[in-house]
């Protein structure tokens, strides 16, 4: 981590932080290859660097590490569960993006998380039927599966989702949903 010279990153023992992150990820991702743990560790460290650069020192560095590591582990497990069997995890390492590319992707992930939360809470307030669909999608439940468990037709659910998206676009247009259009790293 010595390549970062932002003052907000000084005063932290990054070797110690890396050890803590790796230990936490090794626990959350038990049974995973060490290369996969290392890859996830790099994502956590970059997320921490991004946080410190933009927000400064956290209230509790230990707490920040714990939360970022847990969330990264959950995300990795979800990605692995969805990965087609024909695309092994190791493939990522062959074309491992550099840190700059990873940081861009992490920034994109954060922007999407921020927007998805705004959508979810807008639906919670104004469009309860849409909230059910948004939560199903967030939980990895596709509409075909949801149709099977709720007794509704798949087509009806797709149509409802389409209407939800239309209303959402209108709400964003009216400024009813906090939305970043600038592309800036807000």
């Amino acid at each position: 981590m010595a390549e970062y010279h932002d003052p907000s990153l000084e005063g932290f023992d990054w070797a110690e932080i890396r050890t803590t992150v790796r230990r936490r990820l090794s626990f959350h991702l038990r049974g995973w290859e060490s290369a996969d743990i290392e890859d996830a560790t790099q994502d956590v460290l970059l997320s921490l660097v991004r946080f410190l650069e933009r927000s400064g020192a956290p209230v509790s560095m230990e707490g920040l590490i714990a939360v970022v590591a847990r969330r990264t582990a959950v995300s990795r497990m979800r990605l692995r569960a969805r990965r087609p069997a024909t695309q092994p995890v190791e493939e990522e390492h062959v074309v491992a993006p550099d840190d700059g590319a990873r940081r861009e992707l992490l920034a994109l992930e954060e922007a999407i998380e921020r927007k998805a939360l705004a959508i979810r809470e807008y639906f919670r307030l104004h469009q309860a039927p849409c909230l059910e669909l948004a939560e199903a999608r967030a939980n990895g439940v596709d509409f075909k599966q949801l149709a099977g468990t709720t007794g509704q037709s798949h087509v009806a659910l797709l149509q409802r989702w389409s209407r939800c998206m239309k209303r959402l676009r209108e709400a964003i247009g009216r400024g009813d949903v906090p939305w970043d259009r600038s592309g800036g790293d807000a």
């Binding site: 946080f51 920040l64 999407i112 939360l117 979810r120 939560e135 439940v141 970043d180 800036g184």
Partner: protein, 304 residues
């Protein structure tokens, strides 16, 4: 490089985020595609994003770590609309409340700011109030937990035996469930079941979600469950409870985290189940002595 290109380039990350959530109309989506073809940098970001995830909705809907942290420490630094979104979300999301607690562990035990000191429009006071209210709630849950398990509270620093313990003798068996007494005359042929994955099942209260479907074939000895990733420390003991719709306990057990979080790590005797909607509660006390719990809805069927 013309003005349109520069403008689209500057807005590309925001446009791409919208595109990956399928929020753009046809024209805007075409703009993203055409710019990605013209601009190598943006084209690479688009390709990486699509390679990373097939569905960017999945796993979303929670407050970002930075938003939670800012909300807890300097809420006025968040735009008012974002602050309201986070506050509303915390009312419903147990997971984010737990993350907030971990992020602010130092704050919660420091300055004794009573919620009553804050004015009605004081968002800083509101957030501190929320932290204190949450801490109080956790303390209450912990007390209940300790009273329910006087002899089994995990001893910090002492390794917990990984084997699955027998259910507590105080468990109320389901009405009509077969009771075992003595050695059976003939050993039944056990039918193995695929583990039931709880990832995606509804959690907690107030979240509309989907119940995990549990079809128990005749002859199954036990029902294996795979828990979703949960933030716990080594040495944590999970308390597993199965309850019916009337909250009557059908089964209770304690399992070490290393075992419980393994695939098919939670196993419940099939005889303890009954058809219909049941709730599987997973509770634990972590190494810091904080009690937590998740609850999953199960739709149980017993095809003959």
């Amino acid at each position: 490089m013309n003005e349109t290109f520069r403008d689209t380039h500057a807005r590309f990350p925001a446009l791409l985020a919208d595109d990956l959530l399928h929020l753009l109309d046809v024209t805007e989506s075409a703009l993203v595609e055409s710019h990605a073809r013209e601009c190598a940098e943006c084209g690479e970001l688009l390709a990486r994003a699509r390679a990373r995830r097939a569905d960017w909705w999945e796993g979303t809907g929670h407050a970002t770590v930075r938003a939670l942290s800012t909300f807890a420490s300097t809420p006025d630094a968040l735009p008012a609309a974002d602050r309201d979104v986070v506050a509303r979300h915390l009312e419903h999301c147990e997971e984010c409340r737990e993350d907030l607690r971990v992020l602010t562990a130092g704050v919660a035990s420091a300055a004794p700011i009573a919620p009553a000191d804050a004015g009605p429009g004081d968002s800083g006071g509101r957030s501190h109030g929320l932290v204190w209210a949450f801490a109080g709630g956790l303390a209450a849950v912990l007390l209940v937990f300790v009273f329910m398990n006087p002899s089994r509270a995990p001893d910090p620093g002492v390794a917990v035996q990984p084997e699955v313990r027998q259910p507590s003798g105080s468990v109320t068996p389901p009405a009509g469930a077969p009771r075992t007494s003595g050695t059976p005359e003939r050993a039944p042929v056990a039918v193995a079941m695929e583990p039931v994955a709880l990832e995606g099942a509804s959690r907690g209260t107030g979240e509309s979600g989907v119940a995990a479907s549990v079809a128990i074939p005749g002859g199954a000895a036990d029902v294996p469950f795979t828990l979703p990733a949960l933030f716990v420390d080594e040495g944590t003991t999970f308390v597993i409870e199965l309850r019916d719709a009337n909250r009557v306990m059908l089964f209770r057990d304690e399992i070490a985290a290393a075992r419980a979080l393994a695939p098919a790590g939670v196993r419940i005797p099939a005889a303890r189940f009954r058809a219909g909607r049941l709730a599987l509660r997973v509770a634990w006390v972590d190494a810091m002595g904080v009690a937590e719990a998740r609850e999953y809805a199960l739709d149980v069927s017993m095809p003959r």
